[in-house]
Each structure stands twice: as C-alpha cells, then as structure tokens.
C-alpha cells in the first residue's frame, strides 16, 4: 500500500476554490453565496456544510469558531485551506490540463463532423 492522496470530487474541488477566492477564511453561508454567484445556480447550504466537514476530516481544511460580535447573531465556524489542500488543488489542476491537452479544437471538429 502506497501513501496516496485521494482525488477530490468536483464539488469538494469547487468548495475549496470558493474559500480561497473569498480571502483567507470563509464560513458556510459565504461559500454558498460565492458558489451561487459563480455558477448562477442555487446551492443547498446543507450540501456545502457536509462537504466542509468531510474536507476537514481529510485534512484539507482547518476551522475555528468565531463568537458573535457586538451586533449579536449566531456564532460562525470559519474554515481555511491547509497547505495539503493547496497542493492537491494544484495537482488536480495539472491533471485536468493534461487530460484536455489539445482536445478543445478536437471537440469542436468532432461536433461539426457530427452535424454534417
């Protein structure tokens, strides 16, 4: 058995990117809003929540609970990427690019061919 890092699912991948994009830290609702803004589709909070937990278990996220400020409200759990997460993101980026290498034009040609 080799020590192997499992690949991320697409949704996990997306959640990590949104946290990174939001700045250093994000909590669940921020991630949901960021994802919706970027995809144009509705995103369920619970789905993001479960994914945040699983990513934490796998060592890709660290979290801290921030108590409500002076304005009151509910405490929030903020997540930030670990170095392992950035590493796996970079790797999966390379993987993706190599899979698609030269395929963009080929897909377009195949598409035209299929309509003629």
């Amino acid at each position: 058995m080799t020590i192997e890092r499992r690949a991320l699912g697409e949704f996990e991948h997306q959640v990590l990117l949104c946290i990174l994009r939001n700045g250093s830290e994000s909590y669940s609702v921020q991630v949901v809003l960021e994802m919706e803004a970027r995809t144009g589709k509705e995103v369920a909070t619970a789905g993001v929540f479960v994914t945040l937990q699983r990513l934490k278990e796998k060592g890709y996220l660290e979290d801290r609970v921030v108590p409500p400020g002076e304005g009151g409200g509910h405490a929030r759990r903020y997540f930030r990427l670990t170095p392992a997460a950035m590493c796996v993101l970079a790797e999966s980026r390379q993987h993706y690019l190599s899979l698609w290498e030269g395929m963009e034009t080929q897909l377009e040609q195949a598409w035209k061919r299929s309509r003629s």
Copy 2:
C-alpha cells in the same frame, strides 16, 4: 422539475475524453490503455466497463458489437460519443474554466504565503 442534464463525474468525463481522443470509436481495453498512458497510473478494466455502461444508459454513448476478424479473437463492443456527450463536455469545460478564472496565480500566492 426542470429538464436538467446531470453533471458528469470526473471519471466519466475522463472516459469520454479518451474515446474522443482515440478517434471515432473505442472499446474497453483501448480506453484503459489510453487512460493509463495519459495519467501514468493503473486503471481497472472493470471500472471503465461499468462507466461505459452507465454513460450509455444516460445517452452519452452509442455502441455496436464487432465480431472478430480473420485473425480470430473475442468480439469487441465499440463505443462512440453522441452529440449530447460532446455538448455536455463543452459545457463542463466552460464551467471549469470559469471556476478557475484568475485562480492560478492566486493559488500560487496563497501557497507562498502559507510557507512564510
């Protein structure tokens, strides 16, 4: 309920790309070899097989059985992409690019920051 095409899983995505890359048609073993050549990792035939079946059920692949030629051997089941498959590939490509837009440099910077 809107008529919605489910997103592809990453492995499904990869299988479609490999068939497209191999030319117009491929059968299971060809896909396995193509994937191994591209990723450098071993790929289980059964995994590819199940995925080919599922992609066919979803309307992304069409298949035909080709009897053994003069040299003999086992009959092969060849698969080719449907227009729907090319369409979903193109869409998921756009989706991916928009998710990563501007993130490559940001990931690099976050990475450096985390080591300082």
